[in-house]
Every structure is written in C-alpha cells, then in structure tokens.
Symmetry: C2
Subunit: 308 residues, 2 copies
C-alpha cells in the first residue's frame, strides 16, 4: 500500500465527533476548537544523521511542525509536546540545552511529552499547537485563475542533503538543510487575508507538494520556468539545476495561491517579504506541469520523494 | 542523567505563554483551554514485541494515552493524532483494520499524524485529546488524612510480561498485559467529584507511581498490606506475590485519594465500581511505605521500573 492510499484510509477513521472532514489527516494540521494541532516525527538514519548534532536535528523537527501551522495560515505556534525515544547515544544534558535553543528561536513552550528507550535508533516526535487565524488555509480550495506563489527560492536543501549523504561534493555545508526556517510571519499574514485561496509547505518537493493542492482542489497547476532565476543553483555546477527546484524536500517555503483580482493588492506585502516569487497559475483540469521556455509541458507531480 | 531529572529540566522549558505550571510536563496531561492533551510513545523491543500482533500493540498504545486523560479526571477522550515509523515489517492493510478496532473500542477519532520509515524497529506515538471535567485531578494536591484507593487489583500485567519475555512460565496468556483497559468511566466520575484530592494511573508500578503523588504533594503515603486479598496472585505459585502488586507496570488502574470526610458519600459509587479497593492513607512526612501485617514499614517508592 502506498503512503497516499494509507493516509486516505487513516483519514476515514474519524466517525464519532469530527466535523471538519477537510481539516483532518491529509492537511497540514487539524482544527481543534480555535486551536491548530499538527504532529511530525523524524527518525535517525531516515530523516537525519546523528553526526549532524542535536541542535540541527531538533531544529529540523520543530521547524517541520511549526511549518505545518504556518501552512494553515495559523498564528505563531505556542505549545509543543515532545516524544523522545533514544538508544542511549544522546547526551541528555546537551539535549536540554539544544532543545531550549530551538524552543527559544521559535518562542514555543514545551508542555508535555514522553521519553523512553529504544533498541536501535533515535525517534523524535513533536506535537505542535497554534491558533487559528482569521482564515484557515487549505489544500482543497485553489480555483482556476488563481496565481501561484512561492515564498522564497528552493533547491539548496537537496544539494546539502546530497553532500551529507556523500552522493555529491557540492560546495555547500552538509547540514545546511537542517536549518531551513519555517515561514511563521508569512503564514500569519496569509491567514489574515481574505483572498489567499490555498497554501502548502514544501516538505516533499515542490512538484509533489503542489500535487496535493491539485488533487485536493481538483485543478491543474502550471509552473512556469520563465519566472525562475536559477543562478543561485547554476553556480554549483550541477547537471539539471531546475530539478533541484522541483524536487528538493524539507525546504519549508510556502507555496500558495491568490485570487487574481487581488494580485495588485497583494503587492504591498511583497515589500515585507521580498523573496516571494510568482511561479505560475491554476487552471481547469488536473495534474501539475512545468511549462518550459519552449512552451512544452512536463508532468512534475512526482518530483520529490514518497515516505514509507 | 536520570529520567526524573531529565523530565524536571524539560518542564522548565515553558516560559513564554504557559500559565498552568503544575499541569505541564510531569503530570499525565497538559491543559489547553478546555482541552486535556497527552502524548505517549511505544517502541518495538522496548514496550512491545512484534509477535504480540498489531491489535495488541495498538491497544496498549491507545490505552496508555486514554489512561492519561482518565488520570486527570477528564471526560471521554475524543481525538487522537498518530505517529507511525516502521521498518517495513508492518502490513499496512492490517494496521488500518486493527487501528480501527481500537479506535472504535474507545470511540476516538483520528484527526492527524505522520507516517514515515525507519531503519530498525517500529515506533508508535499517540497524542490524545480529551476535555477537562468539572475538576482537574493532579498529583500535587493529596493532603494528610486523605484515604487512598486503587481502582482494581493489579499485578497480572507483570506476570504476563514475564511469560512473554520467557523469564517465567506462569499459566497466564503472554499477551494479557497488552489488553489492560483504561479507566475511562471511573476517571470521568472522579473528575466530577469535589472531594477527590489526587489521582494517577499505574503505568510504572504502584510503588513508583505513588511516589509521584508523594513527591508532588509533599506527603507520606502508607499502603496497608491488610487490605489486599492476594489469592488471585497466589494461585500462580510465585515467590513474592505482593511484589507483583507493588511493581507491576502498564496496569492502567487508577490510584486516587479522597478527603476522609467524604468516604461514606463515596461509598455509593463503590457499587458502580465494585473493584475499587481502599489500600491506605496519606499522612505528614515523605516517602511511600508498605505497612506489613506485623506493623513493620517497607520503603516501596522504587517498586516499578524507570525508563530511559
């Protein structure tokens, strides 16, 4: 069974009380009264190498959770519960120091959790709690005609990961990808605007993540090559720099759509967030495609990676 | 660093928003508005063997979380978020079936979570959400003079665990301990009474769990041997049957204290919950002791096990 199918089946397991069917499993966070709640877990030798150090590992864990709240347009997350399972290779004193560093960075309180041993490996699970904003951003509400934006350039995480895994010798720090920042401020802004029609964070890769909006909203998404300046990737002397934009995961940039009638109104915020880039548009149909400069269309819906 | 010290340090990591200092880490669940939220995790070859089967494993995971809400006197928990990390040895089809069975047993909706791979082992994390009852039961509020109760006999989980681990050949099913039930109904009752002064669930062993009340409330706890009928343990021909009562973990019975002026009023509920047993009392001082029939006192605060 594929992850997608498995998650779909999991999402049917809420038949007693849950009324926000479109906000449970499959979206970034679930709605609980006025609260947004999300959960992510990372595993040694799957999501991180121990050599990266506790601070990097914890930064990645907490960023991925904070990003889930941002992707729903939530306000600053404030509470977290931590699950730690360790085989004894963690120095608990350092763990506290590094955890405090990351919680302070995002201004989050730890309010609960569980710690336990493991036979092999380190497992870290975080549950994060934020508050619903004026509007709730979903994956299922993009509409034909909307304009597609990306909050900042992506691709370097993949380069850095390849370096860490010894796949390639790019001139980038092998732990760069642990330190991507969640878009807390931008998520909070987007959730306060009445013309943002959908939003997702880039955790699996731009192509694959956009396919969640495409499938959820039943629309076709066109990403246009012409919008991208790829000079920041070309300097690494890699073969297909654009592939890194489409498939780099754990970026935690936000991809979002805006009602085209409000695009000039939205421009005033572009000063505040100068890295935001228009990258394409939504149209009728299905699938996620890259329109190259020669006007040919390439299916990019599988660019990225599948877990499990 | 010991688990206790580690948890204490973790509990200091909430300085931005959290006002319920006595309800964060260290208690069974944290308070979030009107909601109670708890998180537990279990790991293969630490908390369960795969041979026990998915249904048993999931039952144990969800019971331990539901029990955390019951121990706070919360009402029926209603939402859960699941984290699953698997090395590929799980049949996902069966996983859905068994998860549905357990969620149905406790009438809980799954509203989110995360699934991922692992290199070694299965890691399951659950976040559970319930609602605060009229009163919030804590570990820190037992008072000298209170009467101590146990919701039902304990000890068989440890016998069953020893069988599963091949330590002893008791005539009990090796998976019996996976199927202990959380005290949902009793927890809901206790949280509605204004004279229940403290409560905890038996997850580590009666002695060790009572030490959390003793330390949190700064009181001495006396458990009286005379109250216990141990015939249900004696029939297993074990050496020290009483040790099983004091140290059997993952029982999910509740231990709670009641203002002694209300003990006759509480009796009316004893019919509804006939297994409830008076087992001792609270007095001034510190520590947890068993008063044997010969009147000697034994320190039982370390009976049970320490994680990590």
């Amino acid at each position: 069974m594929k992850e997608f199918e498995f998650i779909k089946k999991l999402s049917d397991l809420n038949r007693y009380y849950f009324s926000n069917k479109d906000l449970g499993i499959g979206d970034d966070a679930a709605l609980l009264g006025e609260f947004l709640i999300a959960k992510d877990l990372i595993v040694s030798d799957v999501h991180f190498k121990r050599e990266a150090g506790l601070r990097n590992i914890l930064f990645k864990l907490i960023t991925s959770n904070v990003s889930d709240i941002a992707a729903m347009g939530g306000t600053q997350p404030f509470y977290a519960l931590l699950g730690l399972s360790t085989d004894g290779s963690i120095d608990l004193e350092n763990f506290i120091t590094d955890l405090k560093y990351v919680l302070d960075y995002y201004r989050i309180d730890l309010i609960g959790g569980d710690t336990t041993g493991s036979v092999h490996g380190i497992f870290l699970s975080l549950t994060i709690i934020g508050r619903k904003n004026r509007f709730l951003l979903k994956r299922t509400t993009a509409r034909s005609g909307d304009i597609l934006f990306l909050s900042r350039p992506v691709g370097l995480s993949k380069l850095s990961l390849e370096k860490e895994l010894g796949i390639a010798q790019h001139s980038i720090h092998p732990h760069y990808h642990y330190n991507q920042k969640a878009e807390v401020a931008l998520g909070g802004l987007l959730g306060s605007l009445n013309y943002v029609t959908s939003c997702i964070d880039i955790s699996d890769g731009l192509g694959r993540d956009l396919s969640h909006i495409s499938e959820g909203s039943k629309v076709k998404i066109i990403v246009e090559e012409k919008y991208f300046d790829i000079s920041y990737l070309e300097k690494f002397n890699i073969k297909n720099p654009f592939d890194y934009i489409l498939s780099s995961g754990e970026e935690y940039a936000l991809a979002f759509t805006i009602d085209k009638n409000y695009s000039s109104e939205f421009k005033i915020y572009r000063k505040q967030f100068p890295d935001i880039l228009e990258i394409g548009f939504i149209t009728d149909g299905e699938g996620v495609f890259l329109r190259k400069k020669d006007n040919s269309l390439v299916d990019i819906s599988r660019y990225g990676y599948e877990h499990l």
